[in-house]
């Protein structure tokens, strides 16, 4: 058993703009089951952070409990991190974000952590449009407790033990759309070409960016009849569009055919390029996204790609009108301006 990854890296891989090589964004070697989809998502996060030249100390990774919530140990070991109580990651992130709005918040959760014990927390983080990336590593089962059906398991999906799920699954993307989330997408752990740019776009989005990533559980939910197995997902995948993300500092080098490409400018100057759009779908129209999702589901398909984005999203700090400076950087003088100011305020109530 290898506990350490060799320190050598490919000699032709160059440092990114902030001087880090890809392995600087890695964590310790994974202890999840070999072949777990979660490891691929970790890999996509590493790739996205390396390529967008994020300085590791400018990012905080937060998680709850579960296989998914173990993964922050396996990526970005130079970043801030908080492994919270089961289902409470959104609250911890809210607190951290309120105190220091300068960091990128990357929340990692699972289907149990989000759709069961943490549902109450999840929906309110959406409602408040907290500026964070919320990734659900969704495998449709409770892998850490031997693979019972989770709340997101599809109706009729066959478990490894052979039983059929009698309950309808919660569609987290559908729920997020219903709750007015400002960035909603679904991807598949086995499709990094799509997942990596989606994570980049989610990190650039000012507000709650929700990514539901189908991530097969190789040990308990990769059997025949399961709707979350590698082979089932691959056979039933349907994309809203081809997705690409162009950071604002990059020159666009790819030639896009204007007629088939939709370009969405993001708040920070970066842009999302969508090509080969699904018919009757507009990524800025929530209603069309809901329709697309239902159309795909009715065919038994897994719809991946960006569902919806609000390019004018305003996050919680805008809504509650906080000062520009992060709260944790405010000095004693700024926080407590003194008796004379208090008197002015008190006088205003008289």
């Amino acid at each position: 058993m290898s506990y350490l990854k060799p320190k050598f890296h490919h000699p032709s891989l160059k440092p990114n703009k902030v001087g880090f090589i890809k392995s600087d964004y890695e964590g310790v070697i994974s202890t999840l089951c070999a072949g777990c989809g979660h490891d691929s998502i970790s890999g996509a996060i590493i790739q996205a952070c390396y390529e967008t030249s994020i300085e590791p100390h400018k990012l905080a990774k937060l998680s709850g409990i579960g296989c998914s919530s173990k993964t922050p140990t396996y990526f970005l070991s130079n970043s801030h991190g908080f492994n919270s109580v089961h289902g409470r990651m959104p609250s911890i992130t809210t607190g951290a974000n309120m105190a220091n709005k300068d960091l990128i918040y990357l929340g990692v959760s699972g289907d149990g952590d989000t759709a069961a014990i943490g549902m109450g927390q999840f929906v309110h983080a959406i409602r408040r449009n907290l500026n964070m990336v919320y990734i659900v590593m969704n495998n449709g089962c409770y892998g850490l407790t031997k693979g019972q059906d989770s709340a997101t398991a599809d109706f009729g999906s066959i478990s490894k033990a052979g039983s059929s799920n009698p309950y309808p699954g919660i569609d987290l993307c559908g729920l997020a759309l219903e709750l007015n989330a400002t960035f909603v997408g679904r991807s598949f752990s086995g499709d990094k070409t799509q997942l990596v740019p989606m994570i980049k776009a989610a990190m650039a989005h000012p507000g709650f960016a929700f990514l539901d990533v189908i991530s097969p559980c190789v040990t308990f939910n990769n059997n025949k009849g399961s709707t979350r197995s590698y082979s089932h997902v691959r056979a039933h995948i349907e994309e809203t569009s081809l997705f690409d993300f162009v950071p604002h500092q990059d020159e666009i080098t790819v030639d896009y055919d204007e007629g088939t490409v939709t370009k969405l400018e993001l708040f920070d100057g970066s842009s999302i390029h969508l090509s080969k759009l699904a018919p009757e779908w507009d990524p800025t129209d929530r209603f069309s996204a809901v329709n697309r999702l239902h159309a795909a589901k009715s065919k038994g398909n897994v719809l991946t790609g960006l569902y919806y984005i609000d390019v004018e999203s305003e996050d919680l700090h805008v809504k509650i009108n906080t000062v520009d400076k992060p709260l944790n950087k405010l000095t004693q003088e700024e926080l407590c301006p003194g008796q004379s100011q208090l008197d002015v305020i008190n006088d205003s109530f008289r």
């Binding site: 058993m1 290898s2 350490l4 990854k5 060799p6 320190k7 050598f8 890296h9 490919h10 000699p11 032709s12 891989l13 890809k22 392995s23 070697i29 994974s30 089951c33 070999a34 072949g35 777990c36 989809g37 490891d39 691929s40 970790s42 890999g43 752990s189 086995g190 990094k192 097969p216 190789v218 990769n222 590698y230 082979s231 691959r234």
Partner: protein, 598 residues
């Protein structure tokens, strides 16, 4: 690209860079693992079977394996393979009983071996166990050839050489020492079934420029000088010595001079330093002994005063290279330089010489006076005569001579059995999975980050006083172990089985050097540009799988794979396995005589 044919024995052989680069294809990682396991005797025997002179080569090999070593591509310095070989040789236990035991039942055939160097001795070792009556002729009183006459004792102690030469001679070889063969016709008349010529390149080039005639008493040919020192015919040189030439012989000559009384020993090379043929470590060793090396100075004439050599006048040049890389030495116009000398040693190259082979007996010679040979079988135009070593294609090195000896022995055996020399057996190969448990391997797959260890040297004050004191001391067991751990086990191959792959990407994510990519197939050039890490080293192959379920293919760039086995450890379906690949070149000799080695 088409799926890689891993059944082709050469595919995985090429991945084992060191073994592939070795002319004799010694299974390097296999014996390095044995050294790490303190099994020095076994490590020695693997070497002995493959290269016959582990102790000699562990000190003096040209080491084509080291520049090829994968470690040099992921880090700066390759594994010190040569020094590790010496660790095995120095620490081996009793080995004689592990070798074929003479006398061997006769097969009734007689073979003459002309020359007692590494090529002839290798052929002898390979043929003796098969029952051949072998007659070995050499002009000197002992076997070993250039290993004895041209490699100084401070690099190769006589005891080491004697031991390894005797392992062969003790197999019942009929030796005819102190016998200079001066006629091939006489040998052919003696009714041998085959003749092997391993007479080396015994003719050192001389330099007959102005002043040579008057000064020739103090002008020596490099290899002749070394031979006369080795046989103790020459025991001193003048105080001021100039060595002409930039190859390994020049390095040996200058260092030998330093030990025979030379105080001011200078090496003068006409070409720039980067063009010197000497191995970098031999140049370093010479400079460590305070020998001055001048470059870009071709000799113009010998200066003679009162009928005695006074020195040499050198011109000054600079090198220019045309677009084909061809070098021209252009005079710089600087004034000539005179260097004083009591003795001059000329080490500017050596040639083949076959004055003893009659021109009319059917052996054809080509350009540079080398025999016309088949490159695989070493057979000459006279079907019963085979050549090997420096005698075959011009001066090379010991390990190349050994490789020739093996192949010539195969040809001789086929020829004497009445078979075609072209019907050679394929190399013996074997693939063995190294899996012991879910995450357990039979080899140590942890990759050490250690840098290459330096070998300790004898104190200069001691070694310069006695030409028989060995300079390099070799690794002790502790350093030997650490250096052995730097080996990446490139012979433990990553073998991919398409049918088992579920394309979960686990291998892609875990690979520390980003070797693995799953993508759509394409032409090689196109593929090389769009892998996870660009595959720019064209000398290294891409391992391409058959089409997978998603219509993609798995592509692995072999270039900087660490063979750490993490892809296999993280694979849920065992689509990746770590499989040890043993490759043994075809030889007539094997331990149990059944073509099954090790």
């Amino acid at each position: 690209m088409k799926p890689t044919n891993i059944k082709d024995p050469e595919y995985f052989h090429k991945v084992v860079d060191c073994q592939y680069a070795c002319p004799a294809h010694t299974p390097v990682p296999e014996y390095i693992r044995l050294i790490a396991a303190q099994k020095y005797t076994e490590a020695f025997m693997i070497n002995w079977e493959s290269n016959v002179f582990p102790g000699v080569l562990g000190r003096t090999c040209d080491r084509p394996c080291e520049p090829a070593c994968r470690r040099g591509r992921v880090e700066e310095e390759p594994v010190a393979i040569c020094r590790l070989k010496r660790v095995a040789a120095d620490n081996k236990g009793e080995v004689k009983h592990l070798m074929p035991q003479a006398p061997f039942p006769s097969n009734g055939k007689k073979v003459a071996l002309i020359g007692g160097g590494p090529a002839s001795l290798t052929a002898a070792r390979d043929l003796a166990p098969l029952g051949y009556e072998l007659h070995l002729y050499d002009e000197w009183g002992k076997g070993g050839g250039m290993m004895r006459t041209q490699i100084p004792a401070f690099r190769l102690p006589e005891a080491v050489l004697d031991e390894e030469v005797n392992f062969v001679l003790d197999m019942g070889i009929h030796t005819h020492f102190n016998t200079f063969v001066d006629s091939m016709k006489e040998i052919l008349d003696k009714d041998y079934d085959a003749v092997f010529v391993g007479t080396g390149a015994p003719k050192g080039r001389s330099l007959e420029i102005e002043g040579y005639e008057e000064a020739k008493d103090n002008i020596h040919i490099g290899i002749e000088f070394l031979a006369s020192v080795a046989f103790e015919h020459k025991e001193s040189v003048g105080k001021k010595v100039i060595v002409l030439g930039g190859g390994n012989t020049a390095m040996d000559c200058c260092r030998t001079s330093k030990r025979l009384g030379g105080k001011e020993v200078t090496v003068v090379v006409r070409s720039p330093r980067q063009d010197m043929k000497a191995s970098p470590w031999e140049i370093e060793d010479a400079e460590r002994e305070d020998i001055i090396i001048h470059n870009n100075m071709p000799p113009k004439r010998f200066v003679v005063e009162n009928g005695k050599l006074k020195g040499v006048i050198f011109g000054k040049v600079r090198a220019e290279y045309d677009e084909n890389g061809k070098r021209k030495l252009i005079p710089t116009g600087e004034p000539d330089m005179m260097i004083e000398a009591d003795d001059v040693i000329v080490a500017i190259g050596q040639d083949n010489a076959f004055p003893w082979i009659e021109k009319d007996i059917g052996i054809e010679f080509g350009k540079w006076n080398v025999p016309v040979l088949d490159k695989v079988t070493f057979q000459s135009t006279l079907d019963k005569v085979f050549f090997g070593g420096d005698a075959a294609f011009g001066p090379e090195n010991v390990i190349t001579a050994v490789a020739h000896g093996h192949q010539a022995a195969v040809s001789i055996d086929l020829f004497c059995s009445g078979k075609s020399v072209n019907e050679r057996l394929a190399p013996m190969t074997n693939l063995i999975s190294q899996k012991m448990g879910i995450h357990e391997w039979t080899y140590d797959n942890h990759i050490e980050s250690d840098l290459r260890y330096l070998v300790p040297h004898e104190d200069k004050n001691i070694s310069l006083k006695d030409r028989k004191v060995e300079v390099e001391l070799g690794f002790d067991l502790g350093i030997g172990f650490k250096e052995a751990q730097r080996c990446l086990n490139c012979d433990v191959q990553t073998v991919f089985t398409e049918d088992l792959c579920i394309e979960c990407d686990a291998c892609v994510d875990v690979c520390p050097t980003d070797c693995i990519t799953f993508t759509n197939n394409g032409e090689e050039q196109d593929l090389r540009s769009r892998l996870n890490a660009p595959a720019e080293n064209m000398t290294q192959d891409l391992y391409v799988s058959d089409t997978l379920l998603t219509t993609r293919v798995m592509i692995k760039d072999e270039d900087v794979c660490l063979h750490c086995g993490l892809c296999s450890e993280r694979c849920p379906t065992e689509a990746w396995d770590m499989v040890k690949y043993l490759y043994n070149t075809t030889k007539t000799y094997t331990k149990n005589g059944k073509g099954d080695c090790c």
